[in-house]
Symmetry: C2
């Protein structure tokens, strides 16, 4: 008979019959119970393990339901013969040759190994962007709104939704967009799984391989991922203290056909610069003159630290030429995966259908919980609190940068967003600097990820939203010390 060495863990949350079931499954998986083998009678096993017979019966039943074992009346319970059909590993040389089958459109895409490697642990300071501080999450409001969505709205949400997204959420978003000066209604809004998904849908619907797309430099790496995967030809347009250089854009447009201009006017990603009024007008005039759509990624519009915010480009869009993208990744958290597009209806319909073909829709409970957070005012209150925290954190970072970074370091106070773009002095050995920083448990991106052409290796976008002010100050002091250690020239004098 089977030698069963099962020890129930009575302090665990998992019921004992489940523990026993998992244990028996593991024996099957390990080949210690083989197909056709008879299991002990439940009474015997219960006795030998000091469990109730009912517990053993429940464990057996769960294995029967899972087809791991079969029960024959009057004969007993047997390991299912069909389950164990899978051999351990493919014999050497027999592995299926996938690489030759990869589509031409995908084959050329690099596999960015960095994305697949987890960050080094432990991270002592987190300065990477696109994140939020878990300490500041509105957990009570989230718990409440999910509970309500499950109790009250699940019957409406369980089954397939509108390809444009759950209508009450679209209504709530349309109402809240008035704060950005955008007048629209639910029919102008389509829900996406975050801003990245919105960009990807725009690329899917508008971009053929080889189409030119104008991107900011430095710029949002997610946009280059998307347009790269669409095999667009990216055209970099420089960014300065007023944002996207529309003079450069004008020269490009006079020379060649461009399919789309991508921009982050509220708080340029990653520099935090707000696009000036003059540039806004110039951009819209160019887009009109050349009949080119503008993709406005307003990913961080909730957060600005100096002037009153400028209204979205979308507010100056009588012809419906601007595609406006928003997200809740910053106001709530990136793991929520909810964003939206506001666009002219012929385009919006195509975007919604492309989305429907791709994954049928976004998580329904998340949509309902978010609608509830918007309508109850909880989101607005949360964002108001975040704004205060972020302003203090921004100031702490700017102060620490001024105090600790080596002379010659350049940075400018961001008018919005969540990061400061820092340029190290030319005499810092940036490779050695980044290596030491990572080794010290300081997570930060390297600036070249924001460029199409490998520039930016001496740049350092530092997010100030992930830690409280004092911790930011300590982290920047360490970064400053590391940078000073890696100066290749010493100051004369």
């Amino acid at each position: 008979m089977l030698d069963v060495a099962f020890q129930p863990d009575r302090s665990a949350a998992e019921p004992i019959y489940r523990q026993l079931g998992s244990y028996l499954r593991a024996l099957v998986a390990a080949g210690r119970l083989v197909p056709g083998e008879k299991l002990p009678a439940s009474r015997e096993l219960a006795l030998s393990l000091g469990l109730s017979r009912n517990t053993v019966n429940q464990a057996y039943q769960s294995l029967i339901d899972a087809n791991v074992v079969v029960s024959h009346v009057g004969q007993g319970t047997f390991v299912a013969s069909r389950v164990a059909a899978s051999p351990e590993a493919p014999p050497a040389g027999r592995a299926f040759a996938w690489e030759g089958l990869v589509a031409r459109r995908t084959r050329a895409l690099e596999i960015p190994e960095a994305l697949l490697r987890p960050a080094p642990e432990p991270i002592r300071f987190e300065f990477r962007g696109g994140r939020v501080d878990p300490e500041l999450l509105p957990r009570t409001a989230l718990r409440r709104s999910y509970a309500r969505a499950i109790s009250a709205q699940l019957p409406d949400l369980a089954n397939p939704l509108d390809p444009f997204g759950w209508r009450p959420l679209r209504e709530a978003i349309a109402r809240s967009l008035l704060a950005r000066g955008i007048r629209c209604d639910a029919d102008d809004v389509a829900i996406t799984s975050g801003a990245q998904h919105a960009l990807e849908l725009v690329a899917r619907v508008l971009i053929d391989p080889g189409d030119a797309v104008a991107l900011e430099q430095p710029g949002y790496f997610g946009a280059s991922l998307v347009f790269g995967a669409a095999r667009a030809q990216p055209i970099g347009i420089e960014v300065d203290d007023e944002g996207l250089r529309t003079d450069q854009l004008a020269r490009v447009l006079n020379r060649r056909r461009v399919k789309l201009v991508y921009t982050t006017p509220s708080a340029q990603s990653p520099t935090g610069v707000a696009l000036s009024d003059a540039r806004r007008s110039a951009l819209l005039e160019l887009a009109d003159a050349h009949q080119i759509p503008v993709l406005e990624d307003d990913y961080d519009s909730e957060f600005r630290y100096e002037d009153p915010p400028r209204p979205a480009l979308k507010t100056r869009d009588p012809a419906g030429q601007v595609i406006y993208v928003g997200t809740f990744s910053k106001a709530l958290f990136p793991g929520l995966r909810l964003g939206y597009v506001v666009a002219a209806r012929p385009l919006l319909t195509r975007l919604a259908l492309a989305r429907f073909r791709g994954d049928f829709g976004s998580d329904a409970l998340a949509q309902a919980a978010l609608a509830q957070l918007i309508e109850s005012g909880a989101l607005e209150r949360h964002v108001r609190g975040l704004r205060r925290h972020y302003a203090a954190r921004r100031d702490a970072m700017l102060e620490a940068l001024a105090a600790h970074m080596p002379e010659g370091t350049r940075f400018r106070p961001p008018q919005g967003g969540h990061a400061v773009w820092v340029e190290l002095p030319a005499d810092v050995d940036s490779d050695a600097f980044f290596e030491s920083m990572f080794a010290a448990g300081i997570a930060a991106a390297r600036g070249d990820f924001a460029y199409l052409d490998g520039r930016g290796r001496g740049c350092l976008p530092l997010a100030f939203v992930n830690h409280p002010p004092e911790r930011i100050a300590r982290g920047i002091a360490e970064i400053g010390a590391i940078a000073k250690r890696h100066r290749t020239r010493r100051k004369s004098a």
Copy 2:
């Protein structure tokens, strides 16, 4: 001064300051408060409305935060001048010409208007597939697992996750796949936003325009959507009482190169037929001989009603040639949007990166709640209950079909899945039949959606999972009566 006709609703959940804020926003939106206009002092407004001054101040503050108004110290509160920049509607003839800009790869795709139209209301009987009965949802377990995810796991979930999905969920899925005979670990699993998303990712990574893809006929319409959007050339392979006709597939493969075979072996979608053992062997031999990947969509494997289930094709896949797709849309609900792929690692890595480029990942809280439902055994208990309900509903439908449908109607007991595929007698005027059925508030799909070539107009896939047995019986009785009314020939004698 402004004539404020605001009436607070003291019974509403929304706090009064928010109600007042919304009201004032509406006045701005309607142009009754114009840019630059001064709002009443908060004391005055509080007096005239019978509200506390604090309430009015909070309302004003929310409008300041939302940039609807601006406050100038010592001067008062004014409607923001920049907000109202958006003109009402584009002047005629100025609407941006989107259609000419749509990518060639997208332009050819039809806009299936049916997807955009909501179903006629009220629906008295719901027989469409791909849905679940909201009455059977495990709300308590869901509420508990979401609450736990928010309380305990949100810090780990808030920020960007692994491109393959949340590891504890991948571990839970890998363990639970043993029930299908599949031995794998978390590194073999990638989370997707439902099975549809998994199919789309496979198409994105493997299919170039013009590549041939073998699809079952009748077959899953979501697969034709995906491969159509990828501009594959679909090749229909007939389905009979043993599932996919491998003899036909063999003839096709001898004639031409096929890039991928898509199949639903557990419970063929939409017929519910299980692929026989002989056909399984034949399919795998063909795939091996021609070195073609098999995409196994095991969308409904939890539900089978006769024989013990056959193990997945993936269990007989030593070389890693089978791409296995699963989903929680049936065991829980489609709005959850969580599924997964198990595939050989070189392919899985490409799928995960394609997914990352597209939308960065699936909803994090849903992943955590689902992992919790699997690990606690709550999902298994729920599925066990569903299986009993579905078996009873299937039997009720089969009985009602036998009792009420006109003579000559053909259908076979489905061995798995959630629907019965019904073929009306040839003498039923199917156009008139479907029209009458819809008019009577009976929602059901028309069979031609499952064919690539317009066949199936006299077929009727009827899902039996959406209503309890007695209601199914009543609905089928109505459908039978309608079918009988629309016979074009009367029986002789």
